[in-house]
Symmetry: D2
Subunit: 358 residues, 4 copies
């Protein structure tokens, strides 16, 4: 079950320490200019090893398009992209070969499949998200053509929550902080966790601007549900909110309802989605990441023979995943919206007749 | 897009004020005793009109099985169920025929489809969730056969959050309160909202006990993602958490990681899911409901001609939806787990060979 | 797995002798006038019991729409239709309760599911095809809106093959014969089989006129493959051809290639489909039905205890299924085309941009 | 829509003259030994350029596994395979850049997508079938584990139809002829077509031995329908039959019904499938290929400006595709059966309970 989407879809493959990771993006309309440099730029935003606030693992993440593009434009056939793994060192992982790392996926993979690829998390590694970002870049190109924009940033580091949202600032921030006034403090929280050989959780905000009214396929491919699916499926995510989110549960209807005026909604508690359908306002999605489970502190665990033992990880360290995660979340949002754009076509007889020129 | 699931699936139909609502449940293994009384009992738990804390609309919700069951057991063919609408009064809705109710789905439906069924919300009405509960009852019967249990209750009313979790108490509570010590206070919050012609938000907790290790299909039908999809798609839900949820974002890895011992996990911050796969612990899902948008206070809105107007709803009133919503959430959880159980079969060659008796 | 289609889909339910059969049609564009009388008329074309050339079983086949239509037009929500079984007599089937009828599905159902609904074939009965015809009628309404027409008839009875194709004549013929000059002979072949308590095979031709160029989704939802799937899945079908079909295998390329001229293709050996995509010519599908296995002659078989026995069926008799089958095949063709019409939208960026008005 | 299957699935990518073709196979049970040499051997069977009866194009078809296999066994994660195109010469195709070749897919692609990759057929080239064969090799490994065998051969060349079926002989025959007594004649028919710069049609027979009773998911993923879908979707296929196929339409029920005895079916007119479900007998599928449209004779056509012109192809020539096509058909059969094997698991409550060890 390695495919996402219904009409504009992508399927990923690859393990952290296998030969390559990659994806096939299907359903891309023909005739769209494919900007390979943009795909690479998106991958570079997600790439670790750029500063001390993230993992020092150096991934090349050089993307290559294998199909679906001819003379610079999409042909309507599947676009396959591959990123060869150039930096894997399987030898590093012998120490954890037979133990389950607390908070990691390896316990589940081993019990489900009867074996596991223990090299750096194998398929469950966050490395796979590079393939999502590559696919998301194609989705963004499509969305861009109808004027839809995506932005994201870090809204929370540990207990420090942004009160100012500045997406432009986030793009310049080393930790993609949305609140300039909190950036230094948030950096210090990450740095402190790092020095303690620990990690710290955080949250991202993804905003979608200019989505047309009407996206979302009720009742079982609603826009909010599809976004929740997309976000909760990202490594380390444990909570997802749309608009007011969990906070809406503390309010009265008279507070939470958004009044409607001819020029638009007066407020946006709904986060741009009502009844699972976009309402034309900004779509706000909050994505909550747990602290990365890879910490360099001794922990109690068991081995694959079911015996008690301890583990103390070594190697490269990623004290804070929400920054890189915000780029992945933004990509997933674009993939959902691209799918919804195509699914939305033909929802009325008038639309069908206009399309077929009758 | 009115179907949910991949292997154990259901598809629903019907509008609030049409002739009937119902569903087709497909993928039910043959040879399972189908207890029609249990299905009805589940519907009765969800049914409104039972006390002053919920809507006074009297729905009969009498379910009838049309197919797929022969001599009391499932045959492996689709199980269709229908609930005829016996209490619809279309005349009640003339006042809102041409306006958009703030916080409702009708704005989106009208813009998406170019028309809308304005009678009581039409397809977007919470009435459709009765079909989910009927389907969920079948899912529960399957899960029960392998020992999996589902429970739920209200964990929060407005700002009042449970600190004690007692699922047995919730079943007896008129508002499905999980914390006996808070029930009276929580009732008073709902009653106050009702008297003010307002509504109040809340949250449900769904717990899945005894799920086998290994449920969830990485990477794009992970158990957590499928549950998030299922929950966010319920009417009025704006936030979903697994285990520690949004709170995990405030923690350090050393706090959030669950140590592993031969007898199981020492803690359950993960909420029973790691890397999108169940780990054998209790699966905890928190579901946050906004206050129901139908309030009897005058609100600013526009009509279908895009002119400013006001709306003041009348009729039956549902000041608090999280109680009924908790039953729907529990049903959706069962539907996800039933699907994952079937998908999980054949994940190893050994499993396939054992099944085929070689 | 009781659903067909990807975008314009239908799911059926029901057994021959259960309470009801029916379907849910999903993906119908909103704003389409739904002509309930047309649906009924289509069902009447398929209905048995109309003359001596088909089964004398009297089925009422009275269709009722339960949802998805408001004030006479589709709303974009699922259209559920139900046909209650009013003529079932389970008592008739006690004689075959424990034996497998040669040529029937009951052998497979019993071994697959460990039990079977022995009443008149249960789910495997051709009665289920009434639900396909009801769904197909909705599909035809959509296709009609963009000018696509469907026609069908019987092209072969036993060894008697039409050399003249007259769809208008077929509509008047009791056996839907396409070749007026052969009708009497073909009737006599059926009548002879009937008198011998035997049955006879046959074939239908379905033609789709005015399909736009470009329908079909390469490479795994090609138009020809989807039609083959749809047709081979009809009860008693054992062979499917597109255009020249099996005959193309006997030709040289210089004979089979259709020359192209500015005004269209010079010939239509391809049957309107090249490379899985419609080419604007008439789409011709030949569907071959085996003789119905229900014959009133003693046959060797086994019982459910795996013991040799004989069976001699009694009751209503259907000596020739290809006539009724042609209506089902025509309906399935419409369902495929409706799906392809919607899937085809958005295949180019230009189409997407035009749709979204940019 | 470049994916096939529901549980054991594959998705292909790539164009004839792009960088690479390949596939992702998903749903492979973990713990299965993956024999890379067998995959290569299967590709070599399909590979052109081996003798004068097929195209002289030399394709390397060297397959590389990128993911999903660890220490020689499947891990349950997607298996990506890539075959780099090493022999493409885009320069060869300038002559056909602006014309539509009669009988080819390029007319449809151009009209559907507004452009086309004219290099050697692009996506519509039979070259893509190498990816199917690679995926099919994985499917065969799974089927082999439960004792299912696949075999195939050429049953017809032009009007010369085999009366003897010898699969062992076919494996040694340069044209995969099933009837040893006809091989020389059939070769001469192909050679004659080749010398005439023409092509000739043919048919393949695929036989599946030892499939368990019960494969096939009624009613819309029946085994016969899925096979028809799989076969009709292969390049150049225009007809598909199961068992007696089109011939069944000429028979009486008393001739076509297969009597059942305790030791099995007395005959196999059904071709191993009744009611869409396998019955334990050999599954016979006949696949009819049109003559390849690429002939070196001048033909009437139009260009992309819609003007009349002629085309006379040059280059490598494939006078007969049914031989290579039989290997592709056999691979597709394996892919269908692998999918059905997994889907069939959990069709009874007993199966589910046994699997989960309760």
């Amino acid at each position: 079950m390695n495919q996402f989407g219904k009409r504009f879809t992508f399927m990923t493959f690859g393990e952290s320490h296998g030969k390559a990771i990659g994806c096939i993006v299907d359903g891309v309309p023909a005739g769209m200019a494919i900007d390979e440099a943009f795909i690479q730029a998106e991958l570079d935003r997600r790439r670790p090893g750029q500063n001390k606030y993230t993992t020092q693992r150096k991934e090349e993440d050089r993307v290559e398009i294998l199909s679906g593009v001819f003379e610079g434009v999409s042909t309507g056939t599947p676009i396959a992209m591959v990123i060869y793994n150039t930096n894997q060192k399987s030898g590093d992982y012998s120490a954890i070969k037979d133990i389950f790392r607390p908070g990691h996926a390896d316990f589940g993979y081993f019990h489900k499949y009867g074996l596991r690829d223990y090299r750096g998390g194998g398929r469950s590694s966050a490395r796979e998200t590079a393939a999502r970002v590559a696919a998301g870049a194609i989705a963004k190109m499509l969305c861009q053509e109808v004027g839809i924009k995506f932005m994201s940033g870090v809204v929370q580091v540990g207990g420090s929550r942004a009160t100012q949202i500045d997406f432009a600032f986030a793009q310049k921030s080393e930790i993609f902080a949305l609140d300039a006034s909190l950036e230094e403090h948030q950096k210090s929280l990450i740095d402190e966790a790092r020095k303690n050989h620990d990690s710290i959780g955080g949250a991202a905000l993804v905003r979608i601007q200019n989505a047309p009214i009407g996206l979302g396929e009720p009742l079982y491919y609603r826009l909010d549900a599809a976004l929740a699916d997309a976000m909760m499926g990202i490594n380390a995510v444990k909570g997802v909110e749309i608009g007011e989110g969990t906070r809406a549960s503390t309010l009265h209807g008279s507070q939470n309802n958004d009044a409607i005026a001819p020029e638009g909604f007066a407020t946006n508690h709904a986060g741009g989605i009502l009844g699972g359908i976009s309402n034309g306002e900004a779509i706000d999605i909050y994505v909550y990441f747990k602290p990365t489970p890879s910490i360099f502190i001794e922990q109690q665990t068991i081995n694959t023979d079911h015996e008690a033992t301890t583990c103390k990880l070594e190697g490269r360290h990623d004290p804070f995943v929400a920054a890189r995660g915000s780029v992945v979340a933004e990509s997933m949002a674009a993939l959902v919206i691209a799918d919804m754009l195509l699914l939305n076509m033909g929802r009325t007889l008038k639309g069908v007749k206009n399309y077929y020129g009758n």
